[in-house]
């Protein structure tokens, strides 16, 4: 264990450099640069709100806030896992030449997406104020689902990174899976519509939806602890995924170099 902590300390600078690189290169050569982090969720939320509020004749005035909470969390999960999955191949040049603890690559991918995600929360704050949802003390508890989401994303990212080294098809398969996950996260429809119609299990088994639900609760100024199962389930799943992710990654990392 001490060995790992020492190793981590030694490569802290590398981790930071890789995170910085991810953020810097993401928007390099675009005119608006980092502003896209804010602009992109605004634009997609505007479209979704426009389409689905007429669709459902939604009475919820703050529907854009509802969409944003789901969409921001989902897109972090999607981008984070995607980057982590491709990170080994993306850094194959380094891996082939220099020894570095390999988990740094997927981990840095998730961290840089998390930072971009945190920046994009500014949009949510703006929307909250615009639609008259003012933060209170419960809003602070929003940190809890975000932390769990981070751990969950790292875990899933590690698993995907390992698998995709050996089977590149995983990259395409995961895109399909992400689409499925998006539709089962109640991002742009009212979750009760599904929960009340006997198909609620789809949402109940989805840890990402549970996290979105907790996060929404906090954003709307309510207590997520009122129904603790929605918090405990994703927390448990995340820890298991995280441990399993690191385990499978560690078990296979020496073989990576023969496949990239």
């Amino acid at each position: 264990m001490k060995k790992y902590i020492d190793g981590f300390k030694k490569y802290r600078f590398l981790l930071r450099e890789l995170v910085k690189k991810g953020i810097k290169l993401k928007y390099r050569r675009s005119y608006l640069g980092i502003i896209w982090t804010l602009l992109e969720p605004i634009l997609t939320t505007a479209v979704l709100a426009l389409v689905f509020s007429t669709f459902y004749s939604n009475k919820n005035k703050a529907f854009p806030v509802y969409i944003l909470t789901g969409r921001l969390l989902y897109s972090f999960f999607a981008a984070g896992t995607r980057t982590a999955m491709k990170s080994i191949r993306a850094h194959s040049g380094m891996i082939k030449k220099v020894y570095v603890p390999k988990y740094i690559y997927p981990l840095s991918g998730v961290i840089f997406n998390f930072i971009i995600f945190l920046i994009s929360l500014v949009v949510l704050l703006g929307a909250m104020i615009l639609y008259g949802i003012y933060p209170n003390w419960w809003t602070i508890t929003a940190v809890i689902p975000l932390l769990i989401l981070f751990i969950f994303t790292v875990g899933v990212g590690m698993i995907l990174a390992t698998v995709s080294v050996f089977f590149r098809d995983m990259e395409y398969l995961w895109e399909v899976a992400l689409m499925l996950i998006m539709y089962t996260c109640a991002i742009f429809y009212d979750a009760d519509m599904l929960l009340n119609k006997g198909n609620g299990w789809i949402l109940k088994i989805n840890p990402l939806y549970a996290l979105i639900k907790c996060f929404r609760e906090a954003v709307y100024g309510g207590s997520m602890f009122a129904s603790p199962n929605w918090l405990l389930m994703p927390a448990g799943v995340s820890v298991v995924t995280f441990v399993f992710g690191f385990w499978i990654f560690k078990k296979n990392q020496d073989k990576f170099i023969l496949h990239i």
């Binding site: 030694k10 890789l18 690189k21 380094m94 030449k97 220099v98 098809d169 170099i257």
Partner: protein
């Protein structure tokens, strides 16, 4: 008890050369069901065992395909040996392929920090060495230009400057003293020579026997993955010359 820098203990390295490259699950399953999954086992290194004392400059000789680069990669920690182990005492800087860790969209300056961090150095250390690195690389104002616009000589110069100016304990040089123009080549050789003075341990691969003889005091000779000779440079060079003739 001699003071070792690197101990290579009975190292073997096996590669599975799949006859076809399998990239997809579908192919894999089909081949598995048809029982066509054959691997050609290939031992790139067979029971290689030797030690390098601190301050030694060891030339690694051998024909193409003898396992020189594989051995260096095992020592650098890039490959994990199938059998045996490598014990390293000190910081290794592998100069396997200059600029391999560079990001082409990054500028020279950004790459110095990135590459420095890959080699395991701290930010303060790279900060301190930054000017020296830029100066040695002779890149001048190109340091703020993305690497993708560099010529291969410029890239190699930058890579060499970063890797050598950071005072490693063990330096692995794989055919790198032949980069850049004649002027830079001379300069880099002088740099490596000056590092010898400070007691760095060196593993050196080059196809120029003359260069190896000039730079190294010891040598090992590999043939088809086996260590067939080790000792002082003159003895080993003689065997190598007989082998090539």
């Amino acid at each position: 008890m001699p003071n070792y820098a690197i101990e290579v203990r009975d190292v073997s390295m096996k590669f599975n050369l799949s006859q076809e490259k399998l990239d997809s699950l579908k192919e894999y399953v089909i081949k598995l069901l048809k029982r066509q999954l054959k691997y050609n086992e290939f031992w790139a290194l067979k029971h290689v065992d030797f030690s390098v004392e601190k301050g030694d400059r060891v030339g690694v000789l051998g024909l193409n395909g003898a396992g020189k680069s594989t051995l260096l990669k095992v020592i650098a920690g890039v490959f994990k040996p199938t059998e045996g182990q490598v014990i390293r005492h000190g910081r290794i800087v592998p100069l396997l392929e200059l600029g391999a860790g560079f990001d082409s969209q990054y500028t020279g300056k950004e790459n110095i920090y990135l590459y420095g961090s890959v080699l395991g150095y701290s930010k303060q250390f790279v900060d301190e060495k930054f000017n020296e690195i830029v100066e040695f690389s002779e890149l001048g104002e190109f340091i703020d230009v993305p690497i993708k616009n560099y010529s291969s000589g410029m890239k190699a110069r930058l890579g060499f400057s970063i890797a050598t100016l950071v005072e490693p304990d063990i330096l692995i040089l794989d055919e790198v003293l032949s980069v850049g123009d004649a002027k830079f080549r001379k300069k880099s050789e002088a740099k490596v020579m000056s590092m010898f003075g400070s007691g760095v341990t060196v593993l050196f691969v080059s196809h120029s026997l003359e260069q190896v003889q000039r730079l190294c005091n010891k040598a090992i000779l590999l043939d088809h993955g086996q260590l067939i000779a080790q000792g002082s440079i003159d003895e080993v060079a003689k065997i190598y010359e007989e082998m090539t003739n």
